[in-house]
């Protein structure tokens, strides 16, 4: 029977044979759970008892939950500090590294190595750095210079930046590599023309390099924003015993989701938070794409 098919028909048969397992996978492991999460967000359910329809109750509860607004603010603080800082620092490194040839590969390796580490392992290392005086590196340094001690992870004002630092650190190398590839892609003739015209380095940077790097910048901004909005591993592992830090000062949305679902077993409430997270990611990405593309 297969032999009697035309070449085109055979191709159709093969294509669907190749796609059969993946299509089932995407339907069952990606699409069904997406809709399931939306459905659960309208239910009242503690994992043991019956599911009951709750209408907008979970969303209503979320809107009136002061913890949620604290968490919402924290999540955006991670984004609004993390993204610009890592963008500027990684651009500065890439811009200068691009101009160097001596041991170029070695320097690049130093900056990229943190990207290959595991967040949980490095969270422990940074936690150790932040310990009080006999143990912690930073406080020892402060003590040596006579500056008062900082209780990094136990302070409501320092804990969030202290957790953000390793997250920025780990992602920097990736962004440096992307920026360097973007810089390489700018035709050299532009720079030569600028040199002949005697334009200053700053003008070249702002009039040629940065405008031509726009696609790279858009990619890095969107990519790192999504990462900071979903921050979890570092927060969970640097404030354990008290996840979310003193007075929820470091708790991001993903940690709140985790705790609602797997500590309080409030599945409906947690699912409503995941839908909110999804909407935040969607809106932030679309807004960034719109703004950065038009400019």
């Amino acid at each position: 029977m297969y032999r009697s098919l035309s070449v085109r028909q055979k191709q159709i048969v093969w294509a669907w044979a190749f796609l059969a397992i993946p299509v089932v996978f995407y339907a069952v492991i990606r699409f069904y759970p997406t809709f399931n999460a939306m459905v659960i967000s309208f239910q009242d359910w503690n994992l043991l008892g019956d599911r009951a329809w709750a209408g907008w109750k979970n969303y209503d509860k979320l809107w009136n939950d002061p913890v949620f607004w604290k968490v919402f603010k924290n999540t955006f603080v991670y984004l609004l500090i993390g993204t610009p800082v890592s963008l500027v620092v990684s651009f500065a490194i890439a811009y200068h590294l691009d101009k160097l040839r001596f041991m170029h590969g070695f320097l690049r390796m130093l900056y990229f190595l943190p990207f290959m580490t595991s967040a949980v392992a490095m969270a422990w290392v940074w936690r150790w750095f932040y310990q009080p005086v006999p143990i912690g590196l930073f406080n020892n340094f402060l003590a040596a210079t006579g500056i008062p001690q900082i209780e990094f992870l136990r302070s409501t004002s320092f804990a969030l930046p202290a957790i953000l630092a390793p997250a920025v650190w780990a992602g920097l190398g990736f962004q440096v590599i992307i920026f360097m590839a973007g810089l390489r892609a700018i035709p050299r003739s532009y720079y030569e023309a600028a040199r002949i015209d005697g334009v200053s380095n700053w003008t070249v940077l702002f009039e040629i390099t940065i405008p031509l790097l726009k696609p790279t910048i858009v990619f890095i901004v969107v990519f790192s924003s999504i990462g900071f909005l979903r921050i979890f591993d570092h927060v969970f592992n640097m404030t354990t015993g008290d996840p979310g830090g003193p007075l929820n000062s470091t708790k991001p949305l993903v940690l709140m989701i985790y705790q609602s679902a797997f500590t309080d077993f409030n599945m409906g409430y947690a699912a409503a938070q995941t839908v909110v997270l999804f909407l935040i990611l969607l809106i932030v990405s679309l807004v960034q794409l719109r703004i950065l593309r038009d400019r």
Partner: protein, 293 residues
């Protein structure tokens, strides 16, 4: 170290060579180099301190010198003989390896099909898979957990692995690379009487090997360091992966820092070694994934 002459010459073929022509070093370049070198040292300092502390005796950890007075490997023997870390290491290795193989096979098969076949439904499948890129994992963990509970997948290798067996990211990366395989090659193989499975495996796959390697490294790294889902789906100590196991030592008060650093080093060193061996490959992979993915 990495920048030998032959390497510079070899990498000049890639996008990633330093652009500056070999002019004599001037003051500006020297200052630039020193600053970047200092920055680079700061970047690797946490890793260096982790490894250094893992080689120290307990009484030495208050001494913050980078080189231990009497370096030794007792911490590693102690941690691995305890059995837990050994089990977690094996769990992580098994999970990351199987997931990587699955992604390399399925992502490239789907990418190839979407790239090289014309069939009804192609566009819908393409858009459907593309749209899953927008769904955050965190939205799926609750349904995955309920699914695992219903089918008895909790606390098992399959339970840890199943969500990551295929990824839309890998599929699109591979689809982009199959575009570079000329259709004539495939047509010629068809005339030679190979079936479509043979053509994919023996003609197309060898031509995209660099992309496969990059994909394999990303998937392995991603699963080796994965945290939130293994944390949710495992509950017995023996089933933990390395990150979940490390995270379980949560009480800071009686932490033995040299042992924790040893555990952290055990979970970090394998990926660092992979990086040092495949450095150029990985960096090119990041660029490919970043620009094409």
């Amino acid at each position: 170290m990495a920048a030998t002459d032959s390497e510079l010459r070899a990498s000049s073929k890639t996008l990633l060579v330093a652009r500056t022509p070999g002019k004599p070093a001037n003051l500006e370049q020297i200052v630039r180099w020193l600053l970047l070198f200092a920055g680079g040292i700061m970047m690797v300092a946490p890793i260096a301190f982790m490894i250094s502390t893992s080689l120290k005796w307990p009484h030495e950890i208050y001494n913050l010198a980078l080189i231990p007075d009497e370096p030794h490997l007792e911490n590693y023997t102690y941690v691995l003989e305890d059995g837990r870390f050994y089990a977690w290491f094996i769990n992580s290795m098994i999970i990351a390896t199987i997931t990587t193989v699955s992604n390399v096979l399925f992502d490239s098969l789907v990418g190839y099909t979407l790239c090289k076949f014309r069939f009804p439904g192609r566009y819908i499948v393409f858009i459907a898979i593309l749209s899953t890129l927008m769904i955050p994992t965190e939205m799926l963990v609750i349904p995955w957990y309920l699914m695992s509970q219903a089918f008895g997948w909790l606390d098992s290798y399959w339970g840890i692995m199943f969500p990551g067996l295929m990824t839309a990211f890998g599929t699109f990366l591979m689809k982009q690379f199959f575009e570079t395989v000329p259709d004539d090659f495939i047509e010629a193989a068809r005339i030679d009487g190979l079936n479509e499975l043979q053509i994919w495996w023996t003609v197309a796959m060898p031509l995209v090997r660099p992309a496969l390697a990059a994909l394999a490294i990303f998937v392995f790294l991603g699963n080796w360091t994965a945290f939130i889902w293994p944390l949710i789906v495992t509950n017995s100590t023996e089933m933990y992966t390395l990150p979940v196991g490390l995270s379980s030592f949560s009480d800071e008060a009686d932490v033995q820092w040299e042992l924790i650093m040893t555990g952290a080093a055990i979970s970090t060193i394998p990926t660092l070694i992979v990086f040092l061996i495949f450095q150029r490959f990985i960096i090119r992979g990041v660029v490919m994934a970043g620009l094409k993915g």
